[in-house]
């Protein structure tokens, strides 16, 4: 990372909005730490297994429930999987589902909100009443019931999570679109014959990018929490695959035998990553100076 030099020719070099935001983001210490934590976890979960190879598919009944040792730094679980390796493997699924579901929810919310806000009138009213009603339905329980009915795989989980959590981003992006759709450049585009689709894709969405990015960051944090919750209850990512929440689903038996090494690592990993994404989200929101969740 280069050192920022505040004295370096602020006049000669035009500071664009994006650069200014980036600079403000980098000055936010918590947000930068959050970013570092996310990068470290991504390396840990996706590069780690290449360097620290463990068997996460076969059970090894000769080495179950071992406390941390030289051979197994975080011990082994009830079927003999190396816990450190499982933390990487499960973390990969947690991060993948979180990122994909957060992105999916934001994309659905983005399109819904932009179309509603841009079109206005009764279409907007109808579309936003749907959102109001959807928000009143407890998403968590609908998520649990759907998971119980369809027993989703990893991508099925992403799809269900995306479908139950796009409502809040759609509100934020609609609010943004409402102000943008009356800007001169949008009206000019319409006057010279540009299509609605062009107005939305070329002007409205690029100009709401900051709102979209901030919403997506918080969505990722929420999705990681949600999938961990559902997997903890045994309804999320199914064995042999697992995620951090799934690793904790065995926590109840582990806790009574005092096997703390099966409980603390996945739990602390969830907390760290969720805090990191929330810190990044806060930093981006302040840097872009947009409204978002407080």
């Amino acid at each position: 990372m280069t050192v920022l030099q505040p004295t370096a020719t602020p006049v000669a070099e035009p500071v664009t909005g994006l650069r200014l935001s980036l600079r403000r983001f980098l000055r936010n210490r918590l947000a930068v730490i959050g970013l570092a934590v996310v990068v470290l976890f991504v390396l840990f979960c996706f590069v780690g297994p290449l360097l620290y190879q463990t068997d996460q598919t076969h059970t090894a009944l000769g080495q179950v429930n071992q406390p941390p040792s030289g051979a197994h730094p975080l011990g082994t679980d009830a079927v003999g999987h190396d816990e450190l390796g499982r933390l990487m493997y499960g973390g990969g699924v947690s991060l993948l589902v979180g990122l994909a579901a957060g992105a999916l929810a934001t994309i659905i919310g983005m399109l819904w909100g932009a179309v509603a806000g841009y079109t206005g009138g009764w279409v907007d009213a109808a579309m936003m009443r749907v959102v109001d009603a959807g928000i009143a339905i407890p998403a968590l329980f609908v998520l649990l019931v759907i998971s119980a009915i369809v027993s989703p795989g990893v991508w099925g989980m992403v799809a269900i999570l995306g479908l139950v959590s796009w409502l809040v981003p759609s509100r934020l992006i609609r609010a943004e679109t409402l102000t943008l759709s009356h800007r001169d450049y949008v009206l000019t585009l319409r006057a010279i014959g540009g299509t609605h689709a062009r107005a939305i894709t070329r002007h409205i969405l690029p100009n709401s990018i900051s709102t979209i990015v901030v919403a997506a960051t918080f969505q990722i944090a929420d999705a990681i929490m949600l999938v961990a919750y559902v997997s903890y209850l045994g309804l999320g990512v199914r064995p042999p695959r697992t995620d951090w929440g799934g690793m904790l689903s065995a926590g109840l038996t582990a806790v009574y035998s005092g096997r703390w090494w099966l409980i603390l690592p996945p739990g602390l990993a969830v907390i760290l990553v969720v805090c990191a994404f929330n810190a990044i989200g806060d930093g981006l929101r302040d840097a872009f100076d947009v409204r978002g969740r407080s």
Partner: protein
């Protein structure tokens, strides 16, 4: 007058949302393997029995007609029969809901009792070490899964220190549940933690807002001390909106109760939901979702109304 219109509109909206919820649950019921017939006859029903039942109950009619039939059974309080427990779902919920309410109310009360003074003191000592420490703590608590916090509580206070039992009190009546207060400590604390995180933030914000109001300046000018201002004015004005936020919190409370009950083996609605999920007991799952959804809608409605009455500046439809 504006308030009356607001109330009418808001209640109508809530009723509409409840209808929508029934449509969603009806949709899920039809998405079940075997459809609603299996939901009522049970998992062992034969194909002929299902066909006969479908004809008898009008389930071979168009979906819209079926939906109205479903609504009629709901209005009669009929939520179907549990696959595994062989009892009406409504009876199961009526039996267990009070226990869940006891647990969540205790958690909410404990959470608020901690959150309100913490949040107020944070506002008073704004940007001082205490404020920063509590902000950091609530940031972490917000990201902590309830079940993980509960597991850590058991690990520390039940397994290592042996201060409290790891099992919630058992028993069929509320009296039996309440007769073992030590068993309630860990479940209640586990449920309260995330409440403290969220509500201390609300209280901090509400106190800060009130402290900058003109009436506080007037009271100061009139010679009122900091203590009197905080207790007599700011506390009273911040408390109601913060407590009203509980109404928006109903689904989170139920979500917390679900894992807390599973973790501590507390015989409430959360444990019912969890065991139903393990055994694919769909009538129970959908019945619980319906009850929780209605509670959510009512909670939101009450919170909106309270906020509107204490502060008419909250404009209708601006939710």
């Amino acid at each position: 007058m504006a308030t009356v219109w607001y109330l009418v509109r808001r209640v109508a909206q809530a009723v509409l949302v409840i209808f929508l919820v029934t449509i969603v649950v009806f949709g899920l019921l039809h998405a079940l393997p075997g459809g609603p017939a299996r939901g009522i006859l049970g998992a062992q029903a034969t194909a002929q029995q299902i066909a006969a039942f479908n004809h008898e109950q009008g389930l071979d009619k168009p979906l819209v007609a079926q939906y109205f039939y479903y609504l009629r059974t709901l209005l009669h309080g009929d939520l179907g029969t549990s696959y595994t427990l062989n009892e009406p779902v409504s009876a199961l919920i009526v039996q267990r809901l009070p226990r869940t309410l006891v647990l969540t109310v205790l958690s909410a009360v404990l959470g608020l009792l901690l959150a309100i003074p913490v949040g107020m003191w944070q506002a008073v000592r704004r940007n001082k070490p205490f404020d920063y420490a509590m902000t950091a703590l609530s940031f972490v608590a917000y990201a902590t899964p309830v079940y993980f916090f509960g597991l850590v509580l058991v690990l520390v206070f039940s397994q290592a220190l042996r201060w409290f039992p790891s099992q919630a009190p058992q028993g069929d009546t509320l009296g039996q549940v309440l007769s073992d207060p030590a068993g309630l400590v860990l479940p209640v604390v586990a449920g309260a933690a995330s409440m403290v995180a969220v509500f201390s933030r609300y209280m901090r914000a509400a106190t800060l807002e009130n402290l900058s109001e003109d009436y506080v300046r007037t009271a100061r000018a009139g010679g009122a001390g900091q203590r009197a201002i905080l207790l007599r004015h700011v506390f009273r004005n911040s408390l109601t909106p913060v407590v009203a936020m509980l109404g928006y919190y109903v689904p989170v409370l139920f979500g917390g109760a679900l894992v807390v009950e599973q973790l501590f083996n507390y015989p409430g609605m959360g444990l019912l939901f969890w065991s139903a999920a393990q055994s694919s007991d769909y009538p129970v799952l959908l019945g619980c979702v319906l009850v929780i959804s209605v509670a959510t809608v009512v909670g939101t409605l009450l919170a909106d109304i309270v906020q509107r009455i204490i502060d008419p500046r909250v404009v209708a439809g601006n939710s």
